[in-house]
Symmetry: C2
Amino acid sequence: MKFSVESVVIERLAPLLDGGRYPIKRIIGEDLEVEADVFKDGHDVVAAALLWRKEGSKNWHETPMQPLVNDRWAATCSFYDEATYEYTIQAWPDFFASWREEFVKKFKAGLENLWSEMLEGAALVEKAASLSGESDDKVQLLTLGQKMRAASPEEVFAMATSAELNGLMTAWPDKSLASTFPVYGRVRVQREKAAFAAWYEFFPRSAEGKPDSGSRFRDCLPRIDDAKRMGFDVIYFPPIHPIGETNRKGRNNSTTCEPGEPGVPYAIGSKHGGHKAVEPALGTLADFDWLVKEIQKRDMEIALDFAINCSPDHPYVAEHPDWFFKRPDGSIKYAENPPKKYEDVYPLNFHNPDWKALWQEMTDIILFWSKRGVRIFRVDNPHTKPVAFWEFLISEVHKKYPDVIFLSEAFTRPKMMRVLAKAGFTQSYTYFTWRNSKQELAEYFTELTETEMADYFQANLWPNTPDILPLFLQQGGRPAFLIRSTLAATLSPVWGMYSGFELCENAAVPGKEEYIDSEKYQFKGRDWDAPVNIKAHITALNRIRHENRALHEYRNLRFHRADNEHILFYSKVTKAADNILLIVVNLDPFHKHGAHVHVPLELCGLTASEMFQAHDLLSGERYLWHGPLNYVELDPHLRPAQILRIRRWAGKESDFDYFH
Amino acid sequence: MKFSVESVVIERLAPLLDGGRYPIKRIIGEDLEVEADVFKDGHDVVAAALLWRKEGSKNWHETPMQPLVNDRWAATCSFYDEATYEYTIQAWPDFFASWREEFVKKFKAGLENLWSEMLEGAALVEKAASLSGESDDKVQLLTLGQKMRAASPEEVFAMATSAELNGLMTAWPDKSLASTFPVYGRVRVQREKAAFAAWYEFFPRSAEGKPDSGSRFRDCLPRIDDAKRMGFDVIYFPPIHPIGETNRKGRNNSTTCEPGEPGVPYAIGSKHGGHKAVEPALGTLADFDWLVKEIQKRDMEIALDFAINCSPDHPYVAEHPDWFFKRPDGSIKYAENPPKKYEDVYPLNFHNPDWKALWQEMTDIILFWSKRGVRIFRVDNPHTKPVAFWEFLISEVHKKYPDVIFLSEAFTRPKMMRVLAKAGFTQSYTYFTWRNSKQELAEYFTELTETEMADYFQANLWPNTPDILPLFLQQGGRPAFLIRSTLAATLSPVWGMYSGFELCENAAVPGKEEYIDSEKYQFKGRDWDAPVNIKAHITALNRIRHENRALHEYRNLRFHRADNEHILFYSKVTKAADNILLIVVNLDPFHKHGAHVHVPLELCGLTASEMFQAHDLLSGERYLWHGPLNYVELDPHLRPAQILRIRRWAGKESDFDYFH
C-alpha cells in the first residue's frame, strides 16, 4: 500500500491492450485517440495531458486533453518513426482555474472585500513565474503578479479572464499535486505498406507456365510485370530454399516421387543448404539479389515465406541434432498426426535445452534475408511454435530492421490467431476464405474492424491460397472469382491472391478444398493470358483502391441494410467524409438479385431531400440517387458488384463535373 | 523484452478490476469463479490451475481448472478469513496426457512396433516419481514405470487409460514449462454483515421524541428495542461528538441560533473535545460504552457517522492550524460554495505540508472508536476528500480491525462513487433514492448488479435520509412509503431507513427535497407509535429477508416482463434454485394496476405445463399458477406489492404442504 499524496484520479486509459502487455498498432502519421476517466474530489478544476514517448526515451511529449462527457477526457497524437511508443495520462488540480472560477463567481455576486482573494490570485501568478525558468514569460508573470497585488477588483476580474494571463498560466502549470497513470499504453508504429497493400503470390518455378520444367529467378520478370499491370505491389514467393531429397513427395502429395520431380518447397534443406540458401534449380543467391532489385525498381516489394520445416537433409540435422525431438533409441522423430506420419519433415523442439541458440538462429534467418533487401515475411503455421518465440524473434528483428512486416499464416483457433497479432505479427490471414453468406461476412468483419481487435489485428484477405481452393470458387464459376476478389479488395486495405485465381482455376481434389495437380508438388503448365481471365476486373479493383483513400483505412467499414439476403451492402468513408464509397455485392454467383439499399445519409453527410450522384467505379456508370432508399440490381454473370463513389451536388448546375 | 521459454499462453484473467489495481469483494464462504483464456501452440494437451493466497503469504493454494468452450477455462474458490487475497492462473503442457492421447490413437489404429512410444511413457511415469518426494506415490510410480518398460502394447494401453496411473500423474505434474499469469487479481473478503444488513438511523437526542429537550444515550433502549422488533440489525447514529458553539445554526438551518438550541451534530468540535469525544448533552464515554454493549446484547451492531467537519471550536484549530486552509492574512478559511459561506465549518486541507500527520490522525479516530467496539462507520461526503486518503485510511484500519465496514455517503458523479468503492468502501449510498419509474429502476439496478460494478460496489438502499425527503414520498402518501421500503428491502440485501419513515413523515421545506423542522437543527417531538405507522410492513419485509436466502445475495437480481408500465417485476433466485422469489411492485402510489407477468420458468426450474404455487409472503395468500403468463393486481392503498415465493408441486397430492 503506497502512502502518497495523489490527488487526481485517472482510470480506464484506452486503448490499453491486455493492461499494456501488448502494443496496439498504428501507421506513421495516423491519429491515435487516447481517452481516460479523469476526476478529483471536491470542486477543484482539473487539467490533464496525454504524454507519449518512444520506448526507451526519457522525455515525454505532451498534448492537453479535453473533457468529453461524464469525466471522460480525450486527446489525439500521431507518430513519425517506425518504433514502439508508450503513452499515458497526467492530470493535476488547476489551482489558477479553480481560483478564477471562484473569484469570478464572487465578483459577479457583488461580494465586497475581495482583498484576500486578490492576494491569493497574485500568489498563484507568482508561483507560475517561479516555474517558468528564465523565460520572457517569467518577467511578464512577475509583472502581472505585482499588478494584481495593487489592483481594484474590477482590474483583477479583467486580468483573471484575459487570454494573456490564462495563456501564461496554462503554459506554466503547477503540477505539484499531479497524478500519472502508472500503466503505459503501447503502440507499434509501422510504415504504410503494413496496412495498405495488394499481394500477388506465385511459385517462381512456375513463372513461365512450362508443364515439364521449372523457371528460374531470371525468368520471373514477365510474371512480375503482369502482376504490376494488375496493380499488385507485393510479390510473394513460397519457400525458395533447397528442397530435401529424402522421402521427397511426388505429384498430388504422393509418398513416392519419380526421378526429376521437383519436390515440395516446404520440405526445406538439402546438401545445398538450409534456410539461408536458395534451391539451385531456381538460380544462385546473386540471381535472387538481382531479382529483388528488379522488383524494387518496379516500385514493388518482395515477400518471402518463412516456413520452419526441416527435411531430413537439412544441415541442422547434422549440426544441431539436439534441436530436434528424439526417440528413446536416439533417432530423430519425424512429424506425426497420429496415425498419420510425415517422414519428409523433422519438427524442431523449441524447448530443447539449447533453445536459446535455436531461437537466435531462427532470428538470424530473418536478419539474413532482411540484409538482402527482403522486408516482408509470410510465416507458415506460426501457431505450431511458441508465441513467446515469435515475440522474441519479431522484437529482435525490429531492433535492426524496424520496417520488417510479418504476415501470420495461422488458420487456427480464434484466440491463438489474436495472440500472434498481439505478440508482433503485422498482419494475419483470416477466416474470410470461408465466410460466404451475408450474415457470416457482416458478423465476422464487424468483429474484425469494430472491436478491440481492430487496434492490433490487421486482416490480410485471401480468396485462395496454394493450400485452399474453397468450395465457393470450385462451384461458383467465373462469377465466384469476381465476387470474392471484390470482397477481398474492399473489406480490408490489405488483400492478396494466389496466382491462377486470375485464370479462374478451380479444379479440386474431389471432396476436398485442395487444388488437384497442385504446383506445390509438380511443374505446372499455364497460359497466363488464357481468355477466361479476370485480369481486367482485378486491375480495376486495385486502381480503385489506389484512387480512393477510404479504402486505405481499416476501421471505417460499416454494414448497412439491403432488402435482399444475397446482397451485401457496406460503406467505406474517410473521417472527413471527403471520400465516400458505398459497395454492393451480390453474393449469389448463380442468380441475378435486386435490392433496395438503405443509404447511411448521415455518415455520408447528406440530407434526406438531397440529390446525389452514385458513380460506379467498376462500370463507370453514374446514377442520380435521392434519399435513403435506392435500388440496385446485380447480375453475377455481367456485374456482381458495384463500388459506388458518392458525390454531392455542388451548386445548382446539372453538369456532372459539379459533383465533388 | 523478456527472453523466456514460456510455453502456454494465459490471457484475460477475470475478474480483474482495473488490471489488479483494486480488489473485488466477496463474503466469507462465498464462491469466487475465476476464468481465463488458456491455450498453447501445437497439439499438446494443456492443464491449468487457479492459485490463490492471502496477500503477504508465500504459499499458493491450488485448484485444477476445467475447460469451458473456445479455450476459456474456469475454477472456483472461496475464502475463510477477513483479509485481502490474491489469485492468478498457472498453466502447463501436460506431457503425460499428450503422450496418452497419441498412444491411444496409435494403438487403436493398430500400428505395429509401439516399443519406442512405450519407453517414452515409462520415462514420463518415472519423471513423475522423481517429482513426488519420498511419498508412497513414488514407490507406486516407480513400480508402474518398470512395469511399462516390460509390458505388451495391450498392457500399456490398459495402464495408460487406468484411473490409478492417471490419478498419480495428475497428482505429480511436470511443471517445468509452466506459465503463470503475471498480474494478480485481488479480492477483499468480508464478514456477512458487509453484504446483508438492515440499518435503522436515529438521532440519539430524539430517542424519546420529546419536543423541547434532548434524550441521552441512557434513554435510547426503547427506540433500539423498537428497531429490533422491526427486524433491523444495525443502529446508525449521526455524529455524537461535541457540537460547535461559534456560528451555531438554529432551526431550519437558520444562521442565528436561539439560546438552548442544540446545534447541528455535523458541526463537530467544542471545548469538550473533537472527534474522539462525545457531546456532553448525550452523556459520557462510559454511557456510550454501556450503550454499545446493550446493542450487542440484542444481537445488533452500532454504526457511527464519520464526518470530517470541524467547527471553529474544534481542538484541531488550535493544535494544528496548519491542517486548515489559510487566507493571506493568516486567518483560517471557512467553507464556501461561492457566493455562499458556511462560517460554522472549517474544511481541512488534505494536501497541507503536514498531511501525513493529518491522515494518520483521521485514521486514529476510526481506530479509537473501533477499540470501543464500533465496527461500522458511515462516512459523510467522502467525495470531497482525496480518494488516496480513503485508500490509506481504510487499509490502515483493516490491518488492525479487518472486520470494520465503511459505508460511503457519496451522492455525486458516477465515476467518483465507483472509485470510492474500489478504494475500499464496503458499501455505498446510491441513486436509488431518486429512481422511481420502471425503466429507471430496471436500468439502474441492471448496471449495479449485472455489470463489473457488482463485483466491488455494494449498494445500500435508502428511501430517505435526514438530508433527503424525495418528492415521491412527499406526494405519494402512505402507499409511497410501502412501495419504496419494499423496493429497498428486496432490490439489495443491504438497506436502511432514517427514522420517521415508519411514521410516513413527509413534511418538506416547500420546493425542496428537505425535511421541514428537521431534527438536524432542533429537538423534535414524535409519537413513535402514531397510528399512521407502517411498522408491520417493515417488520414483514425484514422477516421475509431473513427467511429467504435469495434475498441475501446481490448479483441474482433479474428483471422480467410485466405488461403494464407501472408494474415492476423481478426475481431473486438462489444458485441452486432452492429459494425462488418473484416480486411485483405497483410503482404508482395513486392507482390500482393489473398486469400479466411473464414468469421466467427456466430460471425457476419449471416446465411450461407445470402447475406451481405462488405464495405471497406479505399477505400470506397462495395462488396456483401455471405456465409463463399469470395475472397480478395491486392496489397501492391495500397492497402495492407481492413477494411471491414459488413452490413446485411435489407428487400429485393437492395438499399445499406438498409444495416445497
